[in-house]
Structures are given as C-alpha cells and as structure tokens.
Symmetry: C2
Subunit: 439 residues, 2 copies
C-alpha cells in the first residue's frame, strides 16, 4: 500500500478525552474515530489489525472443532423472556421497537438465540458434541463508556456455544476451548493467563477469565511466576484426545484477579520469591453453565436410552475489538505502538527519506514491488513529508520492520533496517534487504 | 469438513412461507434460519457462501483503489439531521433511544457518517481522489420483509464513497466503480448488466443499477442482446487510465428495467431479432450525487487556488447478502442449487456410498486427506445416510463436484465424478480422481 493513496489520519496532538495509553495511541495513529459515546469507526489501519486478530481467533476456533455461523445483531425480546433474562439484564441491554411496535434488542450475547437454533434442528445425542460460534458486533449500553475500544458499547466479540449430552462431555468441550484460548492469545504475542472467575449474569458454576498481563491493565492480578513459563500447546494438539493434563497444569499454579484473590492461600502456596503482583486485562472468558438455558428454553435431545434430556452447555467469549486495545497496552513505548508480528497492520514500512530523488524513488519502488510480490504486507511511505516526520509516523503506528532508504546510504548501496520491537538497527546492501526481511 | 461434524440442518419439506425459489432452497439447504421478520441467522453453509462473495467484492474494491474501513452499525440521529435526511427517511429507518435518551439509529446507509469522517481529517485537494468503503450490516425496516435474504431487514452491504475536487474527478471515480462492478459480478459467474437508474433517496443525477439476469427475477428488463456478449475487463485493467471507453461500450446498447423502459426508443434502436425481454435482480447500484452531502455537511477542501470548496461525491453499493439469493435465482434446477465455482461453499463433495465398509472408508479418507492437503475445500459426507439421501443432499446444496465412492466402482478401482452444473458424469480411476478435480 502506498501511503499517498492510503487513508491514515495521524493526529499531532494527544486527544484530551483519552485516559489510557491504548486509547490515546489508537486515536493518534488514525486507527479509530469516535462516532458516539462508546461507538467507533475503525479507520483503515485499525481495521487491518482487527481483521488479523479476527483471523487468528477464527483459525483456532476451527482447529478446535467449533463450527462458524453468523447470528444477526438484532434479536426478539420474546426470546429473552423465555430464559428470564429480558427483565434481569437491566439498562445495559439496548431495547428497540420496530415500525410495527415489535420489541427487539441489540444482542449483548447469544445464549438464547443459539439455544433456539439448536432446539430447532437437533433431536438426538448422536449429533453431539456440537460447538457453534460466531464473530459479530454486540452492544452493551454501558453507563459510562470509556477507554476507547476497551470498554465500548458497540464491540466485536467471538462467542462460541457448546452442546453436550452430559457434564462429562461438556467439560471436554470446555477443555477444548480452554486450550484453543491458550493458543489464540499466544499466537498474538500475548501472555494471557487463565484465572478462575465468577460467572456473573451468564450463570453456571465453572468459569475462567483469560487475563493479558500489562502494567497499565484495568485490574490487579496475583500470580505465581511459574505460570509465566508454562508451555502453550502447539498446533498439533489433539483436540479429540484428553486435554485434562494441559488444563490441570495451567490451573494448578496460583493466578487470580483481585476480585477473587485469596491472600492467605497465596501466601501459603506461593513462596515469596515467586509472587508477582501486576495488572491485567480480561480478553476472554469461558463458562460451563450446565442446563441453565436448556431447562428454561427446552433444548432437549434423546439420549442413548431414548429419553429426552436437557443438554449441558457452555459459552466462550473473546473480545475481538477489545484485544486491539489490550495488545497496545501490552506492547508500546513512549513513541508509539509495537505490534507483535502476527497482528501488525503491515509487516514492513518502507520510508523514502528523499521523495522525488531518482535514486531513492527507484530503490523504494523496487523494494515495494518485490516484497509485495512475495506476499509481504508493505506500507510504502511515498509522501512528501520530511524524514523526521516519517520516522515518527512509523514508530507511532508500530510496523515491526522499518526500511529507511536515504541518499547517503544508497550512495554506498545500503539501506537501514530497524526492528520496532527493540530498536535494533542494521545497514544492509539493497539487494540483501529482501532476504533479511523475509527471515 | 466431515459432514458428521458439520452443522447442516437439511429440511425435508419445503417451507410454506417461502415464496421464491432462492428462499425455499436456502431454508431447505440449511443455509439460513429466520430469527424475526426479515432477520436471519446464517447457518454454516450459508455463511461460507456469504464469505466467498464478500471476499470477491473486497478484492475488486481494493484492486480499484478503494480503501476499506469499518463504520459502526449505530449512528447518531443528529448526524442525519445535518443532511436533512433524518426526517425525510421515513419509517424504514430504525430509530433507537439509548439509556441516556440519546437518539441513535441503525444505519441503513452511510453517506452522512463517511462525510463526517472525511471532513474531520481532509483539508486539501491534494489528498484526493479518495474512495472509502466498508462491508457492514445495515437495517431497513421494510413494511413487509419477504423473499428471504432478497428483501430482508438486516442485510450485509458493501458501500463505497468517493471524494473528488470536481465533477470530472468524480466521474473518473464513478467509472472506476463501474468497471469494478463489472468484474465483481462476472467473477461470481453472473451476467450483471448495468442499467441507467433513478437516484431515489440517495439523490444526485447519475446512477446505474447492476441487474443480474434471472427468469425468476423481481423486475422485468428490456435489453439489446448484444449487451450479453460484451467483454468484461480483465484483472489487469488500468484503473489509473481512461475507463471512459469501457463505460461507454457498456452503456451504449439498450438495457433498461421496466421502471424506466422507453418503448419507442427500444423499438427504434434495437432490431427486433436483438430484443430480449426477461427478468432481473438488482445486486448493486452506483450514484454520482455531486455536492449534495458536502454542501449540507460542510465537507470542504482547499483547491489548488487555496479557496475552500465542497467535494463532489458518489456512493456505490453492493448487496452482499442479497447476492446469495440472487445467485441461487440465476443458478438452480428442480433438485437444488448449482453454485458457480467462485462462490461455492465447498468445491468438492465426497459421497461415501457405504459408510463403514473398509474399502469405501479408506478410499474416501484418502481422497479427503489429499484434496484437503492441496487446499481444496472438501465436504466429506461420512454420515450413515443411505446413498439416495446423500445424492439428494449433494444436489440440493449444489457443490460443483461430487465424487461418489461405492463398493461396486471400487472393485474396479474406480470412483464416479459428477459435475453439478450440467450433470455430466465420468468414471475415473481412484488415483486419477484428484488430478481430474484439480484441473
């Protein structure tokens, strides 16, 4: 992508309304624009990151055997009356009347609708286990939306729903999502730690939150530092096999948010030198809620004995749009964002330090053409900005590799490559630059 | 994908509420489920088609130089008051109040919001031309939603918006979208004919609808049959070059919907043997509306003379979810859907005609594994259904290639391959099947 043809509205000043670093950087880097309180437009740079995150979430859901569908944003109020949650949900639910005075709502979550879909088609335990997910915009009418996409009102969530004949099956489904989440967040370059959680309005009696560690995070966490070094299952993990040992390993060492922190257990179980008190951001939560929705909504299947019984369910959320903010909280410095490779909007930025000079133009065009031909996402800064402004923009928007092409270096046949993550720089011959960037 | 692990709820009976063939087939094939009037859940098979269509639309928008962003579904009512459309839009607009009694609406289109984004950042003609698009769910509260996804209330639309300094620039932007649309629909296997159209509530004085020809279409069309044989620009078309000749070629021969049909001109211009009266379905519409929104909403840029002037705009819509229905209207027979290759949910269906027999199981597994490894989307019918039911399902859901693996054929080392589009069948050796399917 040539920057001169892209739409990247960088802000020079730090917006006053932004209280946290990810919100400030997303506004400054031209990633989002607020359209109403807690409602954002995703500008092209922001959308590219959102799509990368979404793609990783989708791949790992598919790998774990979940099947994608797509439910609508609007739902019938009557559906929520069946489960009893229509009145219980409170003012966070956005209630709507259509032209015929039918009551709708903008879905904040989809337990009811997926249960309605399930019961419309599935009759027998033989169709189980089943895990259906979608990635769709949700709405929660927060009393005080803030922190940009971290606590927005319209937000993108991946929510999966599992259906099993009994609790043992449901726990296997739960474990599959547990492992998929470990993989999902690790692929994004994050340390996300599962922590035992309250179940809240979803209900049920087993739940884990996945908390990304970031010093600027929203809530305090207490962990045994051993948990930081646990191995993440690789892509060949057998989702049909027994995942209990992995889940056990990850849930044995102490890790808790301040809400559920048990100081005496912490001091008893974790030696002082292994105690880490830091902060974190919730990016996913998984629930086993048994027959809560299948009882009230009559989602029954015939068991092996022919007798109808309510299915055992779980639900599994990932805050896709929230992750964009969470990753920035975990990966930035004073000059801007430092995207992990897997979610970077572009892999490489080419900075033409003297736009209009025939030698730098030719070298940049060649790099741009050859990297693009190899499938690398390149942003070529071909604007008239001076070099200093180009450096600042590249640091701000956090592209992992910067290639600086200036007349001085080119006179010696060289370009400079900078790694955004650690600032490491090297001079390489123009003809070696591509090989260096492809490693 | 193994069918035993997929979620494909085929209906045996034809649903009574469905008036048109695409709606019937989408329900029967387990592609969609109605959640409220005009509001559908996309079940896994339907979603796969929707995503293929979306991907083609996106690729061709990007190729034509449009830049993707993503605006939210909800918008502030005040934004629409600026353009004067809030009151004018009528009961099709879904109006919403949030918990703080702020007036929102579920966006039916985005001229206002994109103009607000544009004016927030762009100050100079030097940033033009600019074309920004998104693919997002919209809502229009139809008085009487029907025909499934063809006239739903919640629907997926691609809408692009161009910004130019003057009418000449805007016409070039218009032509780029015109050509992109020719390519987009042709890639989906459709004959889509641009026809001069009324501008309606969007406004402006230049507009074309793109109409897919289908005998079951919603409106009558009159065309000069020469238009059916016009060449579609190939992928190397130069979007920076002069596209006028292509647009002229496609707009010279007579083609009109019954709304604007001019019988005397038709008879005068088109020799009787070239007159074709058929039916069609609108799948896209493009508009040039000049300064309609930039005047009222003050989207001004400085021209080369330094004087601020309103930009000239256009908007360009594709009905992404509607296209799923339109393609079925154009591509089906009495037994089911016949997907064009480019939008098929799977490329190949493997039908194990004797599930549980070691020879058919082994042959199917081998085909499934090897095709999948080559990146082919395969649906492997590994269910316990009898052969007849498997044939019927495969025909209904319209996968372009069916590979039938039965004990009789296998005894001679052969499988049968059927092409869904024309029913052509051939027996090939098991080891040649993959090569045959990859051609």
């Amino acid at each position: 992508m040539r920057l001169s043809r892209f739409f990247l509205p960088i802000l020079k000043e730090t917006p006053k309304e932004a209280e946290i670093v990810s919100h400030r950087l997303m506004l400054r880097a031209g990633m989002i624009r607020q359209e109403a309180a807690g409602i954002y437009a995703w500008l092209p740079l922001g959308l590219r990151v959102l799509k990368k995150i979404e793609a990783i979430v989708r791949e790992e859901q598919n790998r774990a055997g979940a099947i994608e569908l797509l439910m609508p944003t609007l739902q019938l109020a009557d559906l929520w009356r069946e489960s009893g949650r229509y009145d219980a949900y409170g003012p966070e639910m956005l209630r709507i009347q259509d032209r015929h005075k039918r009551e709708l709502l903008f879905g904040p979550t989809n337990e009811e609708m997926i249960t309605e879909i399930f019961r419309g088609y599935i009759r027998s335990y033989k169709s189980l286990p089943l895990n259906l997910y979608h990635i769709q915009w949700k709405f929660r009418d927060e009393q005080r939306p803030r922190f940009g996409v971290m606590r927005g009102r319209e937000f993108l969530m991946k929510d999966a729903y599992s259906f099993d004949i009994d609790e043992a099956g449901a726990r296997r489904s739960y474990n599959r999502m547990f492992v998929a989440y470990l993989r999902t967040f690790a692929r994004m370059g994050l340390k996300a730690i599962p922590m035992r959680a309250e179940t809240g309005p979803i209900g049920g009696d087993l739940s884990h939150e996945f908390i990304v560690l970031a010093e600027t995070g929203e809530s305090g966490v207490y962990i045994d530092k051993d948990v930081l070094d646990l191995p993440v299952p690789d892509m060949d993990v057998d989702y049909d096999g027994d995942l209990t040992p992995i889940v056990k390993q990850w849930t044995t060492a102490y890790a808790a948010t301040e809400d559920v922190h048990d100081g005496s257990r912490y001091e008893h179980e974790v030696p002082e030198e292994r105690r880490v008190h830091t902060r974190g951001i919730e990016v996913g939560q998984i629930f086993y809620f048994g027959t809560k929705y299948s009882d009230s909504m009559k989602a029954l299947v015939a068991g092996p004995d022919g007798i109808e019984q309510p299915i055992h369910g779980g639900s599994y959320g990932v805050g896709v749009s929230r992750l964009v903010g969470a990753i920035i909280e975990a990966c930035h410095d004073e000059t801007g964002i430092k995207w992990p490779d897997a979610v970077a909007p572009f892999a490489v930025a080419i900075l033409n330090l003297k736009q209009g000079a025939s030698d730098t133009d030719a070298a940049c065009e060649r790099l741009y053409r050859e990297l693009s031909a190899r499938g690398v996402d390149v942003l070529y800064d071909d604007t008239d900005q001076r070099a200093g402004a180009k450096f600042a923009t590249a640091d701000l928007i956090g592209i992992p590799w910067q290639v600086m092409v200036g007349p001085k270096g080119l006179a010696e046949g060289k370009v400079e490559i900078k790694r955004r993550s650690d600032g490491a720089r090297e001079h390489v011959a123009l003809e070696d630059a591509i090989a260096r960037l492809m490693t």
